[in-house]
Subunit: 188 residues, 2 copies
C-alpha cells in the first residue's frame, strides 16, 4: 500500500492529476491561459482591503471557492499607519516566497525528488526617497531581494542546485519581479 | 474645530507627522533606507505559510508590532491544491493594488487633494506553459497587469490624471513589477 501511495503522490501533489494536466496542455495549449484577479477598496490612510475569488483558467471560469479571500494592507506607525495589516511591499515578499517554494515543490515532484523540508527567509531593500519623490536618483521599489532557502531532499547536492536554479527561472512571481512587466492604470 | 482637523489630517494621514518625516529624510537621507522581511515555511503540496513582523527603517529596528502577521498561500484544485489560501500570483495583485492605492492617497494628501473614494480592479494574464516548462517561448510570470481605478476626489480631472500618473511612477510595488529587480536565491 505504501508503495502505491508513493507512486500516486509526491510532495503532497497528485502525480496522476499532474500528468493529466500536462498532457491536456500539450494537446491544447490554450488551456494554459489564465487570468487572475483582485478587487481592492481603500479604507483610510494606508489601510485598504482586497477581495480575491474568481479566476479564468483551463478554459473555464473557476467556481471552486465557496468564499472570498480577504486581505488587509496597512502601514506601521513609522510609515503613518497603525499596523492595520502587513504593508504592500511585505505582501510582495510573501507572494515571492510562496511562488518560489511551490515551483520548487512542483518541479521536484516532476523529477522524482521528495522534499522533506523547505523554508525560506526573504529580505528586500527599499530607499523611501523614491516613494516620497525626494530624490530623482533613488530607485522606486525594491533595489534587490535576497532569498535564503533551507531545503532537505532525497537527492544529491548537484541535483538540488539544478532544481533550485530551474525553479527560480520558472517561478511566475519571481519572473514578474526579475523581468519588466507592463502595468497599465486606467480610470473608470 | 473642523477646520483644525482638516489642516492636521488629510485622507486619514497625519499631515504634521508627514511633514516631519519628509524634513527628517531631507536632513538625513540614510533614514530612508528600509529592509523588509518575510519568513516562509512549506506545509505540503502548494500550501505554505509566511510570517511577517520585524523590519529595519528610519535608522532602527521596528518594534511596533505586538504579533506576527501570518498568511497562507494555497492553490485551487485546477492547480493541484485545495484552496488553502489565495495563490502567490493573486497575492502579488493584492500587493500591487494596495501599493498603488496608498501611494495615490499619500501624494494626494501632499498636494492638498482630499480623496472621497478609491477602489481598483486588477487582472493579470499568465501562460502556465511558462511555469510548467512546456514552451520555451512562453513568458514566465505575468504577461501584463491591468489596473482599473474608480476614484472620486475634490480636484479637477486634469489634476487627478496627473496625480495618478505620478502615483504609478512612485509606487514601490508597481516599480518592482514594471522594472527588472534582482532576486538572488541562496541555500543555507
Amino acid at each position: 500500500m505504501n508503495a502505491q501511495v508513493d507512486i500516486q503522490s509526491r510532495n503532497g501533489l497528485d502525480l496522476v492529476q499532474m500528468g493529466q494536466t500536462v498532457e491536456a496542455l500539450k494537446n491544447n495549449p490554450s488551456l494554459a491561459q489564465f487570468e487572475f484577479r483582485a478587487s481592492n477598496q481603500w479604507v483610510n490612510g494606508g489601510e485598504n482591503r482586497s477581495t480575491i475569488r474568481g479566476f479564468y483558467g483551463a478554459g473555464a471560469e473557476d467556481d471552486s471557492r465557496a468564499e472570498d479571500f480577504v486581505f488587509t494592507n496597512g502601514e506601521p506607525p513609522v510609515l503613518l499607519g497603525n499596523n492595520e495589516g502587513a504593508n504592500p511591499v511585505e505582501f510582495l515578499l510573501h507572494a515571492l516566497a510562496g511562488c518560489v517554494t511551490t515551483t520548487t515543490v512542483l518541479h521536484a515532484a516532476a523529477r522524482g525528488i521528495t522534499i522533506r523540508n523547505l523554508s525560506t527567509r526573504l529580505s528586500g531593500n527599499i530607499n523611501l526617497e523614491g516613494l516620497l519623490a525626494l530624490n530623482d536618483d533613488a530607485t522606486v521599489g525594491y533595489e534587490s531581494i535576497r532569498i535564503l532557502m533551507d531545503i532537505e531532499a532525497d537527492c544529491s547536492e548537484e541535483e538540488l542546485d539544478d532544481l533550485l536554479s530551474f525553479a527560480k527561472n520558472h517561478s511566475p512571481v519571481c519572473n514578474t519581479v526579475c523581468r519588466p512587466v507592463s502595468v497599465t492604470l486606467e480610470r473608470i
